[in-house]
Structures are given as C-alpha cells and as structure tokens.
Symmetry: C2
Subunit: 207 residues, 2 copies
C-alpha cells in the first residue's frame, strides 16, 4: 500500500518560497536560501542531467526519496511555474498528476515523466497517482495550498520537512491555518546535517 507523503524544504520561519514567485522566479525572492543545501548534491544534480556533486548524508536523503516516490500530485500553479524551467528529461522520472480546471492532453516527456491533467478533484488525482505508483509512494509535490487541501481531509500519511537554517521573513507559507483542529504528529526521524535538518513525521489520524 502506498504512503502519501509531503517532502519539502522549509525555512525555520515556515516559508517554502520567497515572495513574488512567478514562472521567471520560481522560488521567489531569496527563496534559493531554503534549498541551498541541495545545490551541490550528487543525487539531485543527476536528476537534472548535471554531473558531479557531493555524496553525503543529504545526498542519501535525496536518493532515498527519489527511490520511494512512484508518482506525484501537483497543483496547476506549481506546474505552470516549473513547466518552462524543467529540463527534458524533467527530474520526476515518474507520472505527475496536475490538479487543474482546464482539461489538456497528457504531456509525455523523456525519462518516464508524463504530466496528466486531472479536472475532477484531489481525491481523483490521488487515486490515479496511487494506481500509477504501484508499490511505491505518492508525493504531494505542492504548492502549499494543495498540501493544505490534502491535510485538511486527512489524506497525508507522512511529512518529511527539510528545515533550512534561515529566517526568510516573507514568502509562501507551507502551513497557514492548515486546519480548524490541531493535527498531532509522531516524530519518526531527525537527521542532523550541517546545512539542513531533515525531520520526518507521521500524521496521527484520530478516528
């Protein structure tokens, strides 16, 4: 059975992108500071078709995540912002289901990435992604509003937060009035690395 996970970089003050994000400025102003621990990671460079990079604890975390994930769900805005910027092959190398109101033909790219456009809601997108993932897990890729929609209805099993040592001051919050009720988590792992802290949680569902 697939797990549904969120795996995302966040600043200590809760931002996953800086302000003024756009297709030309996908991470927002100063948003690169959230992700700078990944800049020189071999496993991440490989996905972007670049050689070189470091093999360290952070690299192991990135590789583990790519190994786990068999399909993605993504919001339309995140797709639009990334569409022009991703290389071909894109870094996903797996099916990606885009939540949108406009239907569009699937867009097949090199390396195993196919973008499929889903117009009938988040549960349908998750069902399709789960079927596509097989034994692997499904990642809710973002943006923040999409993560919040899945959290609100109790469809997230696991959070992997890569907490960057920076106070960004402004931008796009991951958790912004997520839910009307508190959501309890179990800490599953904490990996202390020089440039980032990798935090794993299970969402405790009270039923």
């Amino acid at each position: 059975m697939s797990d549904v996970l969120v795996d995302i970089g966040m600043s200590l003050d809760g931002f996953i992108a800086g302000p003024n994000a756009s297709p030309q400025n996908a991470l927002g102003d100063e948003g690169h500071r959230i992700h700078q621990w990944m800049d020189n990671i071999e496993g991440w460079r490989e996905r972007q078709g670049r050689s070189g990079g470091e093999t360290n604890t952070d690299d192991e975390v990135v590789r583990e995540y790519f190994t786990r994930v068999g399909a993605y769900v993504m919001g339309r805005r995140m797709f639009d912002e990334g569409e022009k910027g991703w290389p071909n092959p894109p870094p996903f190398q797996a099916p990606v289901f885009i939540l949108t109101h406009e239907s569009r033909e699937p867009w097949k790219r090199q390396g195993g990435t196919t973008f499929t456009f889903v117009t009938d809601g988040i549960e349908s997108a998750l069902e399709q992604a789960t079927a596509a993932a097989g034994e692997k897990d499904v990642k809710i890729a973002g943006g923040a509003n999409v993560v919040r929609q899945f959290l609100e209805v109790g469809l997230i099993d696991e959070l992997q937060i890569h907490l960057a040592p920076v106070l960004l001051g402004d931008g796009v919050r991951l958790f912004d009035h997520t839910s009307s009720e508190p959501i309890e988590l179990d800490i599953t792992r904490v990996i202390d690395s020089p440039k980032v802290t990798h935090l794993g949680y299970l969402v405790i569902t009270e039923k």
Copy 2:
C-alpha cells in the same frame, strides 16, 4: 560576555501559543500541545515547586537552560498574562525586566525573582538585564512581538527552538514577517527526543 538568547517552544507550523490567549488562558486554545513535552520533566517541576518527574534528555536541556540564564527581558503582555498564574516563588529565580509604558515600582518575589519595569525601550532593558546577568546569559522571554523587535535590530545571538510535533492550525506565530531581509542562521545542535526536537542556532550577523 553574556549571550542574548531566545529559548522557546514552537509547533511545526510556527505557533508559540494557541488563539484566544488571555490571563485566564495563558497558552491559548490548544496551546498546551506545544509544551506537553515539559509536563513531566523533573527540572521544570522543581521550578514550579512540584516534586517528581522524569530525568531524561529533555530534563537535561531544561536544566542547562536554567543554569545559563542570569536575567530575563519580557514584554508587558506576557507579564500580565503570567502574573496571576506564576507561583511564589516564580520559576525565573533571576531578575526579570518588563518592557512597559507605565512605570511601576520593582516587585520582589521569593526565590530570587524581581520584576523591574523598564519604560525607556528595548536597548535599555537589555543593558539592565546584561548587567544583572553577570557572567550568565540573557533570555528574551517573549512574547513574539518582543522577540521580533530584538531580532530586527540584530540583538539576538542565539535561538533555541523546541519544535513540537503538532500542527496547531492557529494562534500566535513566533516568526511573522520578522525582518525585511533574510536572517541566516548556523545550526549549533539538534537533539532528537521522542516528544520534541531541540534545535539550536546562532544568528549570523552580516556587517
């Protein structure tokens, strides 16, 4: 030379108290979830005049902090909310400097806690607290708006964040548009404990 530190519990979604905080509800609705890791810590119970409790990693963190801190700076609202609730002797056992616009005579309590009311601004309060702390450190106790004021002018050396595994959903944020510029941090320690993650940072001052 004293360090100036912030040492505070925060939910994964950035809240240090729940909504609707008041003197009768000092932690706000559901805010106890942020601090529940401390409920049964021996070193914290001692400070409240209660016996018993656990001695574990969390207890060591709490005791270390009490040993380090020689004086406190606190906002008026936090004082007002706590004033009726603190036992006598209060848990501080050190001088506490309250930022206020109304002058008031110092209020001496049992066990080494004296509340001194400072009407001429945050830098004056910090000077007085630093002098009172001697070789020990000064804690900016809160609330969030006071922490932000000190951060904005570059007067915080160190953050110790006790990150609770809960999404509170609403309440009082610690970091809410802290600064117009990003503030870079150095990770100094990460302590993985079952109910909380203790995160230590130095504030990098770019001059």
